[in-house]
């Protein structure tokens, strides 16, 4: 049995996440990934913004920075730039990263700075009670879209790839082994690494969308996520309504802090 306690601030328990929420599953997968790579607690920094996802650092006993809504990436950029040796992990959500912090999201990816970003996508603003977010699917209900959402959602992983991230993966909390593996790969990658993690919100999203039962949301993840290898074999019709999971992009690109160091060496001499 894995001992989570060495990474957990038990004094902050009980946690704020609702029954049926997937955020705790991500927390445990992340701890296992950190431990598996032998990253010490002193070498790791976790930075978050605002929302249910962003409460994660409150429970993890490493260096943590719980910042303002949407701004985790600029804070993390400052940390990484000041101390490039630190493993900087950013924990954010769909609202935090792609709405109020959308500009930082694309620019951090463009710069390809070596951050590991876990984007918990629950399709809703959970903490404030279920408002429509930039990933709420079209037609779904939210407290600010009581008769259905008319706006198309972002493809958050696609956005990071287009912006220039060197590693982009999508995982979900039902397939937890894969989730842990994706986080581990992201931590190992030298460059901007995003893992979008689909996580259920029965309270704010499920209740309004005929999936109040957390088990149903988990079953949805089980039945509708398709690994990339299998995805390639599906016809466009078969892909309808399904979500591709796994590594979506893994490329070698110049990393920002290394490039910066090279520039200084070139201009100032070694």
């Amino acid at each position: 049995m894995f001992n989570y306690l060495k990474f957990i601030r038990t004094r902050n328990f009980p946690h704020i996440w609702c029954p049926g929420c997937g955020d705790g599953i991500i927390l445990k997968a992340l701890i296992r990934a950190i431990d598996g790579l032998d990253i010490s607690r002193d070498e790791a920094v976790m930075v978050s913004g605002i929302g249910c996802s962003s409460r994660t650092p409150g429970y993890v006993d490493i260096n943590t920075l719980h910042t303002t809504h949407g701004r985790a990436l600029p804070f993390a950029t400052g940390v990484k730039h000041a101390s490039p040796d630190l493993n900087v992990i950013v924990v954010t959500g769909d609202g935090d990263a792609t709405a109020i912090g959308g500009n930082h999201y694309i620019h951090a990816a463009r710069r390809n700075i070596n951050l590991t970003v876990l984007l918990y996508n629950n399709y809703i603003y959970g903490m404030t009670g279920g408002q429509c977010s930039p990933t709420t699917p079209r037609g779904d209900r939210a407290s600010t879209a009581p008769y259905g959402n008319i706006e198309p959602p972002f493809n958050t992983a696609g956005l990071a790839i287009s912006a220039g991230a060197s590693f982009v993966a999508r995982a979900d909390v039902y397939n937890v082994k894969r989730c842990e593996k994706m986080i581990r790969q992201a931590l190992e990658k030298d460059g901007f690494s995003l893992v979008e993690i689909l996580t259920p919100c029965p309270t704010a999203y499920g209740r309004r969308n005929r999936m109040a039962n957390p088990v149903k949301l988990m079953e949805w993840l089980r039945d509708n996520t398709v690994p990339v290898q299998k995805w390639e074999k599906l016809s466009p019709e078969e892909r309808e309504g399904k979500v591709r999971v796994g590594v979506l992009a893994d490329t070698e690109k110049p990393e920002f802090t290394a490039e910066y160091r090279k520039l200084i060496e070139r201009v100032q001499g070694e």
Binding site: H69, I100, Q131, C132, S143, T144, P146
Partner: protein, 383 residues
Amino acid sequence: MKKTIMGNHAVSYGVRASEAKVISAYPITPQTHVVELLSEMCANGEIDAKFIKVESEHSAMAACVGASAAGSRAFTATSSQGLLLMTEMLHWAVGSRLPIVLANINRAIGPPWSIWTDQNDSLSMRDVGWVQIYCESNQETQDTIPQAFKIAEQLQLPVMLVLDAFFLSHTYEIVDILEAEEVRDFLPPYKPEIKLDVNEPHSFGNLASPDYYMELRYMIEEAMGEARELIKKTGKEFGERFGREYGLVHPYRCDDAETILVCSGTVASTVRAVIDQMREEGIKIGSLKMRVFRPFPFEEVREILGSAKKVAVLDRNISFGGHGIFFQEVKSALYGFTDIPVVGYILGLGGRDVTPEVLREVADKAINDKNPETYINWIGVKK
């Protein structure tokens, strides 16, 4: 019709009665119920308005600026960090003289994170140029929205309503609900003199050289000056039509009071209960509730406090390195008019409860402390 509703929904009903045309908002605790109900009303036709779900508070105010410049009655609501993020656009609304109404739910600023009430968010916007009205009850909140639009549209100045987080935003009270039909005479549809119009083009936000900038600032201050009488007149007219009158300040048992407690927001109700209790004991004490903070009601403050022997100002806020903010303003208003002692008390920050016991402690201190050591007296701080 009377309904039992939460403070946040009192805002929503006030906006419905005012027939706002564009509502733009971003979620933040403890404000979100305001715009959730409005989004429902927009969708089901209870209000003929458009609801815009934006990606941040900065964008929420920017969308209100755009809608107002295009000639629509625009509204948004926010709180704390959201208000701070809006700051640039709050200045924009004032500088371009757009009569937007905003409801801010007073919430403490982080870090450390807090979702509970204090006034540092709205008071950090004191110099921006928005009229600021602090509400005490759900009824007052609802009633103040149409007054706010009326004042804003006559002065071409934006108006901010301020409500205490949870103590007001989430508290249920009986409210006599205003209907749009009965408010329409009091608040006719918005017809701006200048708007973005393809047939008669105008410009908002242009460059002003040093030859003109100062004059435009002078005109904002002039409008703020006019706001005092207009707020009183509007509150009186509202009273004549709906039976509930509102002013710049609300004095309570001040006529023969030797000590007066100056307060704002929901604390005002608790203060009145403590005053009643102390009056029964024969203590000559009264209270002055500051309903309007900007423009500051200098005359009323001088007149009412001038006859007291001692003034105690209760601040649910702190200007670091200065004093409580209401204290600073009251003291400067009294300068040159009276030399009675004015003492400041800081209390209830980050949502700490201000109970009758706490207020009794402040009142006793104010009366008995002959030579308070400082103008900044912290109440209930654990040391």
